[in-house]
């Protein structure tokens, strides 16, 4: 027989660019997002929201709305059978406001009707009489105690200090600044949506929802509904992005309450405008920092004061505060520090989780400071950062020892080695200049700047939280099935999990079972944690299955199971000639194992902010090249060079996607993305006026992956989701400062900040 050449596709194992199973569907528009779900006999739900940032509710009259044909039921705070409040850390947010509304957009009532338009008309017929109150909008008023408490829990959500080392030490170089960070929105594209289907007996229900953490939702819903958790099933609907905004409850409880009351399936989905009011945002912050350095530019001490505006309810503000203040030093050695941090309550929209989680704010401040030290001692941005770069084993300002692989200097030098983009030629495409399609500039109007940003980011949860993930692997006839409750929000776990199973078990076909609450928690898809945590759980479950398979094969063929290993898709004897395909080896049997992955324990901080509060860290450097039109204040980010500490690349395509996406999000915060508030009111709740970067704003990204295997991580891989968006923002702002020679301490940078 003639030899035929067979082209084999590389197997989609770890290290290869396996494609997303849902990729083609998303591109073609056939992916089913939660907002596409439908059920027989379904009604629509909608929410009535407060138009005022702060007001006393005098009365709510739903009679006219109830009389509208097509309206099935209306619910208010009176209809919440269980706990009247919810919250991720502190249960201080009402399901529906009953006495006071504390932010513009706070839910007051919800309606179920036969059509979205009927819902809209019904909402307009609900009469709420408010006594409008002057809102608390300045966080300093909350700290000073000059404003009466706007909530029974008070106006300061959390206060924490960090006191370390010599409190009186200084150096010949002292630089300081007060940095202001605006309110960014996660702006996921797939809006909030859920479908609640009541059980026929009316005693339980099934909720399909776009969320980041099914089990946490379940806990909060169960308490508010006063139903045992086993009577509520949650299934993940198709999610179109999250970035932190789906960690808190939004429409979940409302949708379930309506379904139980109406006795029919209820579909709820927010519009873009409602979405701006329906989820938490990134905390606006004001950060004062003073760095003391020696004549060489080495940091001697840092003084800092952080104020995070948490808005009306707690959400994750306490954790965001801790993340912010414990990252005061950035990726640099620092032995002495005095840090004072506040997260406060105001009548602004609630703020909570967003990619970078408090570290984005801290990083803008510490990186701006590093450039000031560099100028003061006559060193370059690269030199000053290399002099101060921390290494594994260094103590942090919390006293915690840096135990993660910490290739800070390598991130900087490898970024520095990336070639700069070509200088602008004589002829340029005018669309590529600052101002873009507006054709506002010629080449001669443009000045180019270069800026740096380097960051440290904690991975996983902190402060003593037992953060774990669960997965089950079942092997049958050469096919592996994986079951987990890990929310796929776009990050790519549905691509990675089968890659892990193929690598560990030598199978090719992997079936993903529905993502729901019929298994233990996977924890949240946040904190750059799912590759590490759920990846660790899938890996652990697959390894347990493999061990049992080897025992089975060993018994059948009288080989010591310890001699068996997986080679490609075969089970082989390491020291003999035995070779048997995994498909044959597992024929007729079913092996199923469940594994829980816990990361190492962490501690709470003491009164002086000392303690091993974080699990692990990742690092990244960004260099921005930015063209600026100084006269008009317009900006075009030309190139972002980056080297990121990733541990190990598990899927190169997916990894570069995280880097490029994070950079676009960080660019948005640097130069355009801001929820504009005026006296507690949101002025721009739309994509017409809340601006996200377009293709003409996006830079070229040149990325280097620093692969230093992280021994603490189950797969050697660090989480890579958050770091890309953190230090790119200060790098871009530094490049703008470099181009125009003017100090800017507020983001996003507005045209008038540059040119007026």
């Amino acid at each position: 027989m003639a030899k035929s050449s067979v082209v084999t596709k590389p197997r989609d194992i770890l290290g290869n660019s396996a494609l997303r199973p849902d990729g083609a569907h998303k591109v073609q528009g056939s992916f089913e997002f939660t907002s596409d779900l439908h059920a027989e006999n379904m009604l629509w739900g909608a929410t009535l929201r407060s138009p005022h940032p702060y007001a006393k509710i005098m009365s709510i009259d739903t009679s006219a709305a109830l009389a509208l044909p097509g309206v099935h039921c209306i619910i208010t705070a009176d209809d919440v059978p269980g706990k009247s409040t919810y919250g991720l850390i502190s249960s201080d947010q009402p399901v529906f406001a009953s006495d006071y509304v504390r932010y513009m957009g706070e839910p007051v009532a919800a309606v179920a009707a036969d059509h979205p338009e009927t819902c809209r008309r019904a909402l307009a017929l609900i009469v709420v009489v408010y006594e409008v109150l002057a809102p608390l909008t300045n966080p300093e008023d909350a700290i000073a105690g000059s404003f009466d408490p706007i909530h029974p829990d008070g106006n300061v959500i959390r206060h924490q200090r960090i006191v370390r080392g010599d409190q009186n030490i200084s150096g010949p170089i002292v630089v300081e600044g007060e940095y202001v960070i605006g309110m960014q929105d996660q702006a996921f594209l797939g809006l909030e949506a859920a479908l609640a289907i009541p059980d026929p007996d009316g005693l339980g229900l099934h909720l399909h929802v776009a969320t980041q953490w099914l089990h946490e939702d379940l806990t909060q819903i169960s308490a508010c509904l006063s139903l045992p958790a086993e009577k509520i099933r949650l299934t993940l609907g198709g999610v179109g992005g999250a970035f932190g905004a789906r960690e808190d409850i939004s429409l979940q409880v409302h949708c379930c309450l309506l379904a139980l009351k109406a006795g029919r399936p209820i579909k709820m989905q927010y519009s873009r405008e409602e979405s701006f009011f329906g989820h938490v945002h990134r905390h606006p912050a004001t950060i004062f920092m003073r760095h003391h350095a020696d004549a060489n530019g080495k940091i001697v001490k840092i003084d800092a004061r952080f104020v995070f505006d948490g808005g009306a309810y707690t959400s994750t503000s306490p954790a965001v505060l801790i993340n912010g203040i414990t990252h005061t030093q950035g990726p640099y050695k620092c032995d002495n520090a005095t840090v004072d941090g506040y997260a406060v309550r105001t009548n602004n929209p609630p703020c909570g989780a967003m990619r970078g989680f408090g570290v984005v704010q801290a990083c803008f401040a510490h990186e701006s400071q590093m450039d000031k030290i560099a100028v003061a001692v006559g060193k370059s941005p690269v030199e000053i950062r290399l002099i101060n770069a921390m290494v594994t084993g260094d103590p942090l300002i919390t006293g915690q020892i840096m135990e993660s692989v910490a290739p800070v200097a390598r991130c900087i030098t490898e970024t520095d080695a990336i070639p700069l983009p070509a200088l602008m030629g004589e002829t340029v495409n005018e669309l590529s200049l600052p101002g873009g399609s507006g054709l506002t500039a010629s080449r001669s109007h443009i000045v180019r700047g270069i800026g740096w940003g380097v960051s440290m980011k904690n991975l996983m949860y902190s402060e003593g939280f037992d953060d774990f993930a669960t997965a089950r692997c079942t092997l049958k006839d050469g096919v592996a099935s994986l079951k987990f409750a890990t929310s796929e929000v776009g990050q790519g776990f549905v691509t990675l999990a089968p890659q892990i199973a193929r690598s560990v078990l030598g199978v090719d076909e992997v079936i993903l079972e529905p993502i729901d609450t019929q298994i233990g928690s996977a924890g949240s898809t946040s904190a750059s944690r799912q590759t590490w945590m759920s990846g660790g759980a899938v890996d652990g479950a697959c390894r347990l299955v493999r061990e049992r398979l080897f025992h089975h094969v060993g018994k059948q063929h009288s080989i010591d199971p310890l001699r068996l290993v997986i080679d490609g898709t075969d089970v082989i004897d390491q020291v003999g000639t035995f070779r048997y395909s995994v498909a044959e080896a597992s024929e007729g049997i079913e092996i199923s194992e469940t594994f829980e992955h816990h990361h190492r324990a962490t501690e709470e901080l003491d009164a002086n902010g000392q303690g091993n509060c974080h699990t692990a860290f990742a690092f990244v450097a960004h260099r921005a090249v930015v063209d600026v039109d100084p006269e008009l204040g317009l900006v075009k980010v030309v190139q972002i060079a980056t080297a990121q500490d990733v541990g190990r690349v598990l899927n190169p395509l997916s990894a570069i996607g995280q880097l490029e996406g994070g950079i676009a999000q960080g660019l948005g915060l640097a130069v355009m993305e801001e929820i504009i508030m005026q006296n507690g009111k949101v002025r721009n709740p739309s994509f017409t006026d809340y601006l996200l970067p377009t293709a003409l704003d996006a830079p070229d990204v040149v990325a280097v992956m620093i692969e230093e295997y992280e021994p603490q991580a189950p797969l050697g891989a660090k989480g890579i989701g958050e770091p890309p968006c953190i230090s790119v923002t200060p790098a871009i702002v530094a490049a703008i400062r470099n181009a125009i020679g003017k100090n800017i301490e507020r983001i996003p940078v507005r045209p008038q900040d540059i040119c007026l």
Partner: protein
């Protein structure tokens, strides 16, 4: 809601007269947003997009290009408009996204009459003439008389904007628009400048810096009185700077969530000055 899809202009005009509450829809890029936000609740809509006569570009007389009110921006970006009225092509390119430009049209910009309407400054700088038809009459109105305020015009309920006449001017023309991102953005300030070399005049109109588009007559007159504006003339940086300041002085911008009055005025002075320099490079 009733939607009348007209194939002929007369069908649309008849329907318009019969339904006092009817709203016209061409690309729908403004109206559908208004409807989605529940700002308007029309009970009758008359679709103009299948009326071929509104979607043609004609050269009826020499020195004049007549563009149908329904010609989408994506066509205006291309020839023949690109060569004959380049400022209009440039303005069309700044409108929204490719999807929006495939739907939106000059008729929509005129029908909405927002001071941020991207193509309106071009019409003001070129003294465009607007053709309006009713079932039994027609009239031609100068753009200067057409727009009367923020989202207000002289168009009567039973009138349809059919076409816009643009003179083809020998000389240089350009359009610039400032927004806070590099594409797909609502104008913070915009400027159209036309250098008419034959008549040795410069005309300039401003968008988003007043209740209507602002034609800077005083700055134009100052420039003509003090400087040679024929082809081949040169404009110094000082003259351009002074011209920019004078143009900005004629604007009356406001502070809002998109920008500040001070920045808008500053941007106008920069844009006017740069466009003038480009016109005489």
């Amino acid at each position: 809601m009733t939607v009348i899809v007209a194939k002929e202009l007369t069908t649309a005009l008849t329907a318009l007269r019969e339904h006092a509450d009817a709203r016209l829809i061409q690309g729908g890029t403004d109206l559908m947003v208004e409807i989605n936000f529940n700002h308007v609740k029309p009970t009758t809509m008359i679709s103009l997009r299948d009326i071929d006569s509104l979607r043609t570009i004609r050269r009826d007389q020499p020195g004049m290009l007549s563009i149908g009110s329904g010609v989408p921006y994506s066509i205006i970006e291309e020839e023949p408009v690109l060569s004959d009225i380049p400022a209009l092509s440039q303005a069309a390119r700044t409108v929204g996204s490719p999807q929006i430009r495939a739907a939106g049209s000059l008729g929509g910009n005129l029908g909405t009459c927002s001071p941020a309407g991207d193509t309106l400054p071009v019409m003001f700088a070129l003294d465009a003439m607007i053709h309006l038809n009713t079932l039994d009459s027609s009239r031609v109105v100068s753009i200067h008389d057409f727009m009367t305020g923020v989202k207000r015009s002289v168009r009567q309920h039973d009138e349809i904007i059919t076409s816009i006449d643009f003179p083809i001017v020998k000389g240089w023309q350009g359009y610039s628009k400032v927004g806070v991102r590099n594409a797909m953005v609502i104008s913070v300030a915009s400027t159209c400048l036309v250098a008419d070399h034959e008549n040795a005049t410069v005309r300039i109109a401003l968008g988003s810096v007043g209740p209507t588009i602002i034609r800077c007559r005083e700055a134009e007159a100052w420039l003509k009185a003090n400087h040679d504006l024929s082809a081949g003339a040169s404009i110094s940086l000082d003259i351009a700077g002074e011209f920019g300041k004078r143009a900005a002085a004629e604007s009356s911008p406001i502070d809002d969530h998109r920008s500040t009055a001070a920045y808008r005025r500053h941007a106008i002075s920069v844009l006017a000055s740069r466009l003038l320099r480009k016109a005489y490079q």
